[in-house]
Symmetry: C2
Subunit: 270 residues, 2 copies
């Protein structure tokens, strides 16, 4: 039976395991969709690479996933989105979505005083990608950004579950902005949703905290629907994860984050 | 100077004044965009017409607005969306968005227990449009609906500002569902956002209340961005409102809802 376009998987790519927080939300909101994920663990992290390198890796992975047959590509990595979204929108015939615009758009939707604080990796902060996206849509906004380099290791080493350790690192990272006048905070890195409750709590539950992955899943639905590509039935889906390296560390984190996900994992060369 | 596609207005249509709550949100989220609105006041309300009649009116208005030069069409009316969205998506070369899918998608994103209550006009409730949209995206949801025929007159007669009157009508309309197990409530009519605070309050602020217009503005941004049609600069915009009848009543409501909107209004024949 010929596979229709609608039945093809959504391709999701990231430099490592972080993009699985986006997958978690796509699977929750769109349970009839199948995911084909690529984690570029042999070249991770992207944050320390040049824009050109990240762009080249991202294009290479996108071409690989398109070759496997996907109906849409989600770049579930802030660094890769900043480096390659525009080029991939031109290059590919399928819809392409990054994580930055959905987070930016949700901040615009939610903020009342038009002041936004972005928490992200140093690379994303330096790229100004969130600020450019927000002000590009609505020039009335002011955006400040803060690099939180200790958050990714905190999450990947699963130490985020220790309230004391989390509390110390969050305080050290955010203390200068504790009294920010921004009413909305963007979690501008795919690892940060694991710290969402703690971050919200740090700001006394007074800020709207935007999870870019959560918003990207929502916009994946919007874009699929707009293109008449939404899959509306089908259960018991097994997702596929491709990695170019040893999968044990990846699976260790994955089992913690998404214990119920049904998947098969393949180590490939790329 | 040739006007670029990006600089064209967003066409917004409704049977009457209700769609202006959607315009309010589009203007807030996307302040560089210009609106060309059509209010079909001579044939309002659509709720009592047949599906075929509503479809024909909607197609006629859409063609009229396309003839005026719009870059996107927003059907800011639940009845018209249910009757004509699919046919207009096929018929027009520009992006077309209705109010139902964005509200449905936001409910899926926000609900934790997958139980949703839709408040709408009798016509929208009968059409099952929200239930079909939600279950079409995520079949794990259960959706109940409630017609609230007293809400539109309450809002259009500006009696919603009287807390006692509002309180009585909201209680009469919603009392059978006061203890609903749905954790998410959709305001499935463009008039209802004016009652949002009261409705939220009626449910002791324990429900997530989804405003379809607020979500439609967000998705207007998503779709324009996806099609590289977002206008990213330009201030002091005067919007245009077209009506096929006496504008005094329309303006009376409009000045109350959007006192700061800069617009010119024209009475036309259609």
């Amino acid at each position: 039976m010929k596979k229709t376009l609608m039945d093809k998987p959504i391709g999701v790519m990231d430099s490592g395991v972080g993009g699985m927080t986006v997958v978690k939300e796509i699977v929750r909101q769109l349970p009839h969709e199948k995911i084909l994920y690529f984690g570029d663990i042999s070249r991770c992290p992207y944050g320390e690479k040049s824009q050109e390198e990240v762009r080249d890796y991202t294009v290479q992975i996108a071409d690989y996933l398109v070759g496997k047959g996907i109906k849409m590509l989600v770049i579930a990595c802030n660094t890769a989105t900043a480096a390659a979204l525009e080029i991939l929108k031109e290059r590919l015939d399928i819809p392409v979505l990054g994580v930055i615009q959905p987070g930016a758009r949700s901040a615009i939707q939610n903020s009342r005083n038009k002041k936004v604080l972005v928490l992200a990796t140093s690379g994303t902060v330096k790229s100004n990608a969130y600020s450019d996206a927000i002000i590009g849509i609505n020039s009335g906004f002011s955006v400040s950004s803060l690099a939180c380099p200790k958050f990714v290791p905190l999450v990947e080493q699963l130490r985020y579950k220790d309230d004391v350790v989390s509390g110390i690192i969050i305080h050290q990272s955010l203390k200068k902005h504790r009294h920010t006048d921004a009413d909305t905070i963007i979690l501008g890195c795919t690892h940060y949703p694991l710290l969402k409750a703690d971050i919200r709590n740090y700001f006394n539950n007074e800020k709207k905290v935007i999870d870019s992955g959560y918003e990207t899943a929502r916009e994946t639905s919007t874009i699929l629907n707009y293109n008449n590509l939404l899959r509306t039935s089908g259960e018991s889906i097994v997702h596929t994860i491709l990695i170019n390296g040893d999968s044990s560390r990846f699976e260790y984190v994955l089992r913690d984050w998404l214990p119920e996900l049904e998947y098969k994992i393949q180590e490939i060369e790329l």
